[in-house]
Symmetry: D2
Subunit: 333 residues, 4 copies
Amino acid sequence: MTMIEYRPEPGEFAWTFGGAAPVRNVKPGDVISLWTEDCFAGKVRTERDLASQVCEFPFLNPQTGPFYVDGAKPGDTLAVHFVSIEPAAPVGAATTLPFFGALTSDAYTATLQDPLPELVWIYELDNAARTVTYRAKSSDLTLRLPMDPMHGTVGVAPASFEARSALVPDSHGGNLDTPEMRAGVTAYFGVNVEGALFSLGDGHARQGEGEACGTGVEVAMNTVLIVDLIPGVATPWPRLESDTHLMSIGAARPLENAYRVAQVDMIGWLSELYGIDRMDAYQIVAQAALTPVAQVCNPIYTVTSKIAKSLLPNASAYRGSHARLREQARTAT
Amino acid sequence: MTMIEYRPEPGEFAWTFGGAAPVRNVKPGDVISLWTEDCFAGKVRTERDLASQVCEFPFLNPQTGPFYVDGAKPGDTLAVHFVSIEPAAPVGAATTLPFFGALTSDAYTATLQDPLPELVWIYELDNAARTVTYRAKSSDLTLRLPMDPMHGTVGVAPASFEARSALVPDSHGGNLDTPEMRAGVTAYFGVNVEGALFSLGDGHARQGEGEACGTGVEVAMNTVLIVDLIPGVATPWPRLESDTHLMSIGAARPLENAYRVAQVDMIGWLSELYGIDRMDAYQIVAQAALTPVAQVCNPIYTVTSKIAKSLLPNASAYRGSHARLREQARTAT
Amino acid sequence: MTMIEYRPEPGEFAWTFGGAAPVRNVKPGDVISLWTEDCFAGKVRTERDLASQVCEFPFLNPQTGPFYVDGAKPGDTLAVHFVSIEPAAPVGAATTLPFFGALTSDAYTATLQDPLPELVWIYELDNAARTVTYRAKSSDLTLRLPMDPMHGTVGVAPASFEARSALVPDSHGGNLDTPEMRAGVTAYFGVNVEGALFSLGDGHARQGEGEACGTGVEVAMNTVLIVDLIPGVATPWPRLESDTHLMSIGAARPLENAYRVAQVDMIGWLSELYGIDRMDAYQIVAQAALTPVAQVCNPIYTVTSKIAKSLLPNASAYRGSHARLREQARTAT
Amino acid sequence: MTMIEYRPEPGEFAWTFGGAAPVRNVKPGDVISLWTEDCFAGKVRTERDLASQVCEFPFLNPQTGPFYVDGAKPGDTLAVHFVSIEPAAPVGAATTLPFFGALTSDAYTATLQDPLPELVWIYELDNAARTVTYRAKSSDLTLRLPMDPMHGTVGVAPASFEARSALVPDSHGGNLDTPEMRAGVTAYFGVNVEGALFSLGDGHARQGEGEACGTGVEVAMNTVLIVDLIPGVATPWPRLESDTHLMSIGAARPLENAYRVAQVDMIGWLSELYGIDRMDAYQIVAQAALTPVAQVCNPIYTVTSKIAKSLLPNASAYRGSHARLREQARTAT
């Protein structure tokens, strides 16, 4: 086992999945300790830093990586286990942006209306107390919300010779923006190109479901992860496994399609894990799956299908990768 | 306080919200103990009872009611507090139906493909152990899932002189199919016509989010509820309040619109409860709201916006109706 | 053949399809000469008449009718042939309305943005020259556009005991808002209740595809139509036949579903007319159908599938109803 | 003026917009005579050639190009004028494909249903008579449809360092699949990278609106085009200009968003051309624009907004580029 430390230099970020040269080679089993910049490329620090003024499109959502995973080939599955995800700054920023977010017209849901006001909320982060503090602008209302750090963006190079903006999610992962991408979770991605070329970024100290305003509580992250490879096993859509849940993530518009993709993927997964036919798995999903909305603000929307392991018989997904990584995380740290 | 017992006679069900004559007059504060038939009108009892053969369209989703609430006027809010919802049969039925459900083409998502097989799963219900038992058809897999009884359909007569099929949800409530409509919850509906004319039905012993196959575990219910009226307070979309959460339900297609409606409604609610402007409430919702999908199978889809009271300062929604009804429920039963 | 003249008294309009008592009995073959009020109930006459101030919700889209067609039974098809549709006022009005229209957020595509300005454009109508004249507000730009009168709303009572607002289209017809509903066209509707109960209104002197601002050039109409009945022939979605085209109208959200419904219906129609299987009809539609958007502003959207008769062999749809009505129109007028 | 002849060698096709090296440098004013392969890479020639067997994903929609346009810079507009588009083979092929097309579930509108049958229809093309001949499989029905050759795919390299599959349309153009992309038309694209890097392919001898089955009548093409550059003029979404119409193309899901994007773009265009404010332009579009659906089968859908020049005062879009190119075409050929 190797511990790799990596902190990207200013010019070293990737802005796409696919089409960027790898920054490091890693091997299955390697532990990577890395730092990710926030989605604003570090430029929004106070309420006066309006992203539309201080950020330069398309230099948003800087990605740490990509990492070339030795031996990864199309048709394999890459497992990325998050050992820890910790805010690397004392405050996080959440903003509205002109024509971006779930509750405004945007580039696709195009209307003739004026944009919403562009505002920045600065949240104080307390890593010890595990809180993020919201302060209203129009009153003295203050809320201490639980810290729940996550990565909005994790993924691999896409198929079909594509390079996709880090602002977009799809079957390769990318800007999935699900709060389920937290420490303790193993994320599975189908490998599309040699070396998989995975990267990550867009840390949130917490995020509501749907990421309604277009951002979470955005913050740089110190993250430790372990990489694993499951050769010869394909993964059509991003999947997550925690100690308590199996999850599939669908990415599509309209939102019902993201739901459909996630649920159909979960049905395929359960069908295979338990040796039942798809109609039987459909019935389980219909009565037992949770389907939180992940985000409704990116160019493609995401929904998670989520089923509690406690409701299901024991099964070993991906040849026990999650349990093995969980154990390695315990001993490695 | 009056206790009203009501069990509809066979010919007494309503099939629409609006357009049906009231079966009883009730007063705010009345406790109603009633029985609801299952969505199949009781005709699916075994795996051989295919709804497409034994049910007669449009005689699906029979409603118990409507109840005329004395004094209710357009512009008021009707509160319906669920004291208890208990399965009234030893088994529940879940089915697939030709061209109905989230993971099949349907009357609107029209394709040229053949329908999925029509199948019935019979679940054994154990009210004491609070379990519903699933049995796979293609293997001996058996799952004991937690019982979590709810009403798929609750609502009032719609506005605009409309009568809507009990299979459809909209701003008047109706076939909302959210698992959040469980005992202990108070549902708020805007009153559109004199007497409000609320009715309910479509009990589920449990249901996954999205109601993917088109049904929950369908079963007749013995339900006790208390009616309250909040005069002069309008409610644009159905809202729920439990001891732990505030919830708004949006109904629309595509699914992102149901999400938007629910979140915008929640923003309006929080804005009013806490005296903050809408942008501040938007930010709270963006970082703190959960948005489980309710159903993706009816003619109009539903999403719930849900925020934990524990994250918010104390506030008294609807003049404290929920707390008062909760207390009344405790003493009444 | 009977000629029926009918001009509704002020209190005589219907505001729904279904749920309204018939104003007249008519027989298949009857010619009906009637007047329809405009969608604003006649209250928008100048640029200062803002609908949000002068109109009273839900008293919009007044319907002339319903007419009880003797002998019409569920399972039959009602044919309504438009002999003439002529503006009955010297000007028409088009408006924007707060949160209504295709290019603004609305009640379902809910956002937090401010509404667009509410404006009225008054068009001069010249029935002789067949023009409607647009005048810009921000410059002296004047456009003389071709007059192309149509009815936005035509339909029958819906199934399932429903009464639907005249603002909504669905399989029963209603607020379809397709510019194809013009003189010379025969509209076919499936009959859902005894007497069919058809009504119509919402005349437009012309309308762009999609009815982007939420209205056409709205005007009262003098309309002559002939009613026919095709017993024992079901019509699942509204269909139109002109001398040159066969058309099916789909109503659904999102808009791709309206497209799908229209195209699948057209495939069924061609398959039956020409005795070909559905895959062969699918191929014809794929290479030969036009699919103009009808409207993207009502609670349910509409798309028309349209195929030129000149591309197809001769066939006699609905037992030759259109040709017969066309001939009757010629001799009757 | 230079005449460039270019016929790609087998290994020389591009499979993406962006991310491919240019095959030729061209200058504004150059006439390019080129050949494009069909979308099946030439592998579907008979009814027995099933694409799912003979084609190799992702080697579909081979693009001729990209061409590097000397002097083109981000912020400029590239004009591509089609002088002629002529089928280069005696037959064209149209197919159904498993889980691809508008009237089947697909990778995004995911359902559990079986795919439709995979079928190939071979159309005889008669360039002289301008017909394409359809033959039903289930009967002897034969239809001679008008030939109307077009390119499904035309575009430039996208912004944001992306490379997009040639199967996908977006603001850079790509797989727009509108039948309006025919000879005599000038297409305008915003330039995102130096040299613009435009390419084209996917010829259709004709196509219905929506491309319902997932293909047009696919055929290799001999195409002559002229390139022009309008420096310093941005074009947010693809636009077309013919002798008779101005057109904007929106690409988005759901389909109403493609409609919205196209209409909002047209409003901006008219507003600028005629010096009127956006609300006045909105009103023109609302009453005068046509909005045919382009395609409902690709990962992103497309709708065209189309307005007749005859309804508008004379105006010179893009500094008269279309008229100039039209004149050059007349003299060049």
